[in-house]
């Protein structure tokens, strides 16, 4: 499984034809095929390329919805 630093993850913001990836609880997800992540943006407020672990606590849905998108890697912790 591919490993990403936060900086590497930030390049996957869905802009300039990059694939949009997001992280949650140390897992990196590919949201390219998700309707809810068109152009790397989610519900106006969130951008791909970020660790959304904290943001998801405030979201009107749980982590179960992440089961609908493929896992593509792990997020490395800050050194």
């Amino acid at each position: 499984m591919e490993k990403f630093t936060k900086q590497e993850l930030s390049h996957h913001n869905g802009k300039n034809s990059t694939k949009p990836y997001i992280a949650y609880n140390g897992i990196v997800y590919d949201v390219s095929d998700s309707f809810h992540w068109k152009d790397g943006k989610h519900q106006v407020l969130h951008q791909a390329g970020e660790d959304l672990t904290e943001a998801l606590q405030q979201a009107p849905h749980g982590e179960d919805l992440l089961g609908r998108v493929p896992i593509i890697g792990k997020l490395l912790e800050d050194e």
């Binding site: 809810h36 519900q43 106006v44 405030q58």
Partner: protein
């Protein structure tokens, strides 16, 4: 545009441009759902289909009412709808509630319906969270819409065998919560 109304919301700490984008996306979801539900309703046929046709129709009409109720608030706050209908469709906050490959598969039909309602419930909960105690009018409107979306979700969920909704079908007029915004 209601200049002072917008100013009050901004002063309360709401990013009004962001809120407007969310409202327009949700208005699009309502209108597109109204369209797709029309196709679903038409295809709800046979013994099983007829059983849910009436609530699908109520949900369809109420979703159109939600669109009608959202539009004035968007313009009051200084926003506008996209000029192009294609653009409007493409920015929808929820995926298209498309007819399943086999329209006779009632479980597939109900899954499309309940997923659309669940997306709406999440969307209006989000708007309520953003506006609570800050933008009283948008909050009141979103909460009214949320009440109806939750009822739609529970109706379809009940038919999917997920448990009783605790509701009875509408008696009388549609949109018991949102109608005050349509008068």
């Amino acid at each position: 545009m209601a200049k002072v109304a917008r100013e009050m919301v901004e002063k309360a700490g709401v990013n009004v441009d962001q809120l407007l984008e969310i409202l327009v996306k949700n208005a699009s979801a309502e209108l597109t759902t109204f369209y797709y539900y029309t196709i679903l309703r038409v295809n709800l046929i046979g013994l099983d289909g007829e059983g849910i046709k009436e609530i699908a129709e109520v949900a369809r009409i109420e979703d159109r009412n939600h669109f009608e109720a959202l539009v004035p608030r968007i313009y009051e706050l200084g926003g506008k709808l996209p000029e192009n209908m294609n653009d409007f469709h493409d920015i929808s906050a929820c995926p298209p509630a498309k007819l399943p490959k086999d329209p006779r598969d009632i479980k597939a039909m109900l899954t499309v319906l309940v997923e659309a309602e669940r997306c709406a419930v999440r969307g209006y909960t989000n708007i309520c969270n953003i506006t609570a105690g800050k933008d009283h009018r948008t909050y009141d409107l979103s909460q009214a819409i949320l009440n109806e979306e939750i009822e739609h979700e529970s109706w379809f969920s009940e038919f999917l065998g997920e448990g009783p909704s605790g509701h009875f079908m509408r008696r009388g007029d549609t949109s018991p919560f949102v109608s005050k915004f349509l008068k």
